[in-house]
């Protein structure tokens, strides 16, 4: 019996000990951005002696994970990438360290004005459609076209009552006065709701119903035209695209701060941003770098105001009343 207990204990504890011994001298990136393997591979193949590893954390678990690890003194991240509001909260809690990378020198001034957090991209949102099923003459040319009754039961979008980025985007359209005044904006919201869109939990599952033909168009992200190629996806050429910004910062108690700085310098460089645009379809802030999606280099892409959580909950409740009628 004793031998059995020792054997069982050994089986349980051995992998844990091995993993502890193996975890050493790497640059650890915590990120919510998806499909960045090509950038990590390029960093690891580069001249730096550092090895980058990538811990993917969804937006909904980001703050809980980082704050839990930080408060227990076990934050493994050297570099943190996430939505700007999350990084701002982490900065307030003392999780981030100031660092200004020279690689971001050409970025717009609003993206680099903070001494700790640098914004490097915009999570741009657009009407996306199935180009094999939607006739050229039917493709929306403005946001208001989404309220046309011909799209009844043919639209997919993230749940506007709960998905923070979608709520922020809808409010972004209001504040940018895309529809003139607030009445025009409300007409758009009610018209969109009247078309009874199908809701999914986030942008991730939004292109699948469009590519399969279950729905004809949706509120989604143009980057899927790249990541889901050769799916028959295209974006509707509206005047201006809006989105929340993607940001990055160095961790205050980074296990490998020097490596973290090397990684941030690399990430913000034109080479890495070009990869992010080319391979992942991201809209980046490096001047002259655009994703290889037809028309994106010509459209205006603007960052929207970051809503507080109270505002997101308030507007989520309001949208629930309208969309769930």
């Amino acid at each position: 019996m004793k031998k059995l207990v020792v054997l069982l204990l050994g089986l349980v504890l051995l992998p844990g000990l091995c993993a502890t011994v193996m975890a050493a001298e790497k640059v650890n990136l915590y990120a919510n951005i998806t499909a960045i393997e090509p950038i990590m591979a390029d960093f690891n193949a580069g001249q730096s002696s550092e090895e980058g590893i990538y811990t993917r954390i969804s937006t909904s678990k980001y703050l809980a994970t980082v704050l839990t690890e930080f408060s227990a003194g076990k934050l493994r991240a050297d570099v943190l990438q996430g939505p700007l509001p999350i990084l701002q909260m982490l900065k307030e809690k003392g999780v981030l360290a100031p660092y200004k990378s020279s690689s971001a020198s050409g970025y717009p001034s609003w993206a680099t004005e903070d001494d700790t957090i640098v914004q490097f991209g915009i999570e741009y949102v657009a009407p996306i459609y199935n180009k094999e099923l939607v006739k050229a003459e039917d493709v929306p040319t403005s946001y208001m076209d989404l309220t046309d009754p011909k799209w009844y039961d043919k639209i997919v979008m993230p749940d506007p009552a709960s998905h923070a980025t979608t709520i922020s985007w809808l409010i972004g359209l209001k504040e940018a006065k895309v529809f003139g005044d607030d009445d025009g904006w409300m007409k758009f919201i009610k018209g969109l709701a009247a078309n009874r869109p199908m809701f999914v939990k986030s942008f991730g599952p939004s292109p699948a119903p469009i590519e399969s033909g279950e729905k004809l168009l949706g509120i989604s992200m143009p980057k899927y035209i790249i990541t889901k190629a050769p799916a028959p996806l295209a974006w509707a050429r509206v005047d201006t695209l809006f989105g929340t910004t993607r940001a990055m910062a160095l961790a205050a108690k980074a296990p490998n701060p020097a490596g973290g700085k090397v990684f941030i310098d690399y990430w913000l460089s034109k080479k890495a941003m070009q990869l992010l645009a080319d391979k992942v379809g991201e809209y980046v802030l490096t001047p002259g770098v655009y994703p290889p999606i037809e028309g994106v280099d010509k459209v205006k892409v603007l960052p929207i105001r970051q809503l507080s959580d109270e505002e997101i909950r308030h507007w989520g409740d309001e949208f629930q009343k309208i969309f769930y009628q």
Partner: protein
């Protein structure tokens, strides 16, 4: 058999440690003002959770969803278990494997597969129906409570099957024969003898499915949300995703209602099976499980079981294979077939993280399920054979982590493990898996224990056998069907476990389900399906090995009367 109070106390300490730690952390978090488990005390999260005007509707949906899924899974499992264990139906071995296939499939994939089959716009089965009958109305709208019950019931079918089948195979047919000799009809025998004797297994199955569907997130999010139907788990998700600062304390406060419901169900179960002697069918008086000859019903029943298995289980798997061969999801057409290739499979098999995930998941599946089953044997023994207040506490403890909605319990484990050196290791994952899914081992073993009369172990003890000798030579051989069921349930679950893994896994400790989630978040359904099928193949292999080992070591010789 053992020094009973010592054994019970030891197990309460072990199981309590495993399951209480994350739940206590969540309880602390639910009263903490901050986003971590330790913060300024507040009751505001409970007030916010239970004064939400939507909460009543959510509860009604949740009750319909969980009870409906339990009825669906249990009735289907009863039918399949009966024909697979009690009759001479041809090709039974295949149907046994088919019955447990859904538990090998990542739930998100199984749900997506049903969406492709039955979405009201262009679902494959709906289109087929509309073309055949020249109608504009879809046959079935998957985005409904009925659709959620259909998919969740099928996903939980293996749980019900693996609890009911061992009890059914240990059923002494002489009880039914006695009933018939006394003049009872087949139907009366079924309702007065067969089903009452199987009551512990049927109740155990229904309760486990209710608790599991309470915690389920894949079906409510993939099938329910597009139909605007919210249940407890998606309500929790909506609460934590509305805003960037996800408050898991609030989520835990909502999750406490699931915990209370589960513990209540366990006590109802104990009350309904209190007189365990009633359900004993294996005693020292010459137990012989027997087979029923179907005669002229053999082939009609084979067709019925074949069609059921094909439509409900194999068709969704075929859809997965179809998606895995395509560059993007599209309905079947000549063009779709012309675009088919093995590219997704090649990508997956050349991806180093996918291969590492495969290795880690296999280790966790085999070693974790073995350790979990060993612990389950002792816990089940105490729960069934030592029916004291302490054993009731042990049973409730074993359900604690399992009862919490999956998206919350992972955070509870993270809050706990981050204070230990095990954080971010495979060991933490293994402990978390065993702690959470202990009921998968305990329930089939308890159902099996209930049917073994205590005179068997008493005879061994009277003849001088030590407690462990009695366990090894008398009890365990009789428990083999239950042990195999428990091990299969645990191993399959550990291979595709997502909710804990997504929070606890770190670079180097990636597991299959986390890799699958990555593909899902990137919308790479082809690669996702390819990896899902690889997962099904590995699980099937493990199930076949376990079933073969089980039949080799089993002392039960099935006699064909």
């Amino acid at each position: 058999m053992f020094k009973k109070p010592t054994l019970t106390t030891t197990l309460i300490i072990i199981v309590g440690f495993l399951t209480l730690c994350p739940v206590i952390m969540l309880l602390l978090g639910s009263f903490s003002k901050d986003f971590v488990s330790f913060g300024q005390f507040t009751t505001s999260k409970y007030i916010a959770a239970y004064t939400d005007p939507d909460f009543a509707d959510i509860l009604v949906n949740t009750v319909i969803f969980t009870v409906g899924s339990a009825l669906h899974a249990t009735l289907l499992a009863l039918f399949l278990a009966y024909v697979n264990t009690r009759t001479d139906l041809p090709f039974k071995f295949i149907f046994k494997i088919i019955s447990i296939i859904p538990m090998m499939i990542p739930h998100i994939l199984f749900s997506a597969s049903w969406v492709l089959l039955l979405n009201p716009s262009n679902g494959i089965l709906n289109r087929l129906f509309m073309n055949l009958f020249e109608t504009r109305e879809a046959l079935f709208n998957i985005y409904s409570l009925k659709g959620m019950i259909l998919v969740e019931g099928l996903l939980d079918l293996p749980i019900a099957y693996l609890i009911i089948a061992p009890a059914m195979s240990a059923f002494d047919v002489s009880l039914e024969e006695s009933s018939k000799v006394c003049g009872a009809s087949n139907l009366r025998t079924l309702f007065k003898v067969t089903l009452p004797v199987l009551r512990p297994a049927i109740l155990a199955s229904a309760i486990l499915v209710i608790v599991r569907s309470l915690a389920s997130f894949a079906v409510p999010s993939v099938v329910g949300m597009p139909g605007r139907i919210y249940v407890l788990s998606t309500h929790i998700y909506r609460n934590i995703s509305s805003g960037f600062a996800a408050d898991y304390g609030l989520a835990a406060a909502i999750g406490m209602s699931a915990l209370v419901a589960s513990i209540t169900l366990i006590y109802v179960y104990r009350y309904l099976t209190a007189e365990s002697g009633k359900f004993v069918t294996i005693s020292s008086r010459g137990f012989k499980p027997t087979l029923l000859r179907l005669k002229k019903w053999k082939y009609p029943l084979l067709v019925i079981v074949g069609i059921l298995s094909f439509v409900l289980i194999l068709l969704p798997v075929l859809v997965l294979f179809y998606i895995s061969m395509l560059p993007y999801s599209m309905p079947p057409s000549a063009r779709a077939f012309s675009l088919m290739s093995w590219n997704n499979w090649i990508e997956v098999l050349n991806d180093p993280i996918s291969l590492l995930s495969l290795k880690n998941s296999l280790f966790l599946g085999v070693v974790g399920a073995t350790l979990g089953t060993i612990l389950s044997i002792f816990v089940s023994y105490v729960i069934v054979k030592i029916r004291t207040t302490a054993s009731g506490i042990l049973e409730s403890l074993s359900f604690l982590s399992f009862s919490f909605p999956g998206i919350v319990i992972g955070v509870g484990f993270m809050w706990f493990f981050v204070r230990t050196p095990l954080y971010g290791t495979l060991t933490a994952l293994m402990i978390g898996y065993i702690a959470t899914y202990l009921p998968y081992g305990i329930r089939p073993l308890s159902s099996a224990f209930i049917q073994i009369h205590s005179t068997l172990e008493e005879s061994s003890r009277v003849c001088g056998g030590s407690p462990f000798y009695t366990l090894r030579r008398v009890i365990i051989p009789l428990l083999i069907p239950g042990i195999v069921s428990g091990w299969i349930l645990m191993a399959s679950m550990f291979l595709r476990e997502l909710t804990l893994s997504v929070v606890l896994s770190r670079p180097g400790t990636e597991v299959l389900a986390v890799q699958i989630l990555r593909f899902a978040e990137d919308g790479l359904w082809g690669r996702l399906s390819a990896l899902g099928i690889i997962m099904i193949l590995i699980s099937s292999l493990l199930v076949i090995i376990a079933a073969l080992l089980g039949s080799r070591f089993s002392k039960l010789e099935v006699v064909d009367r």
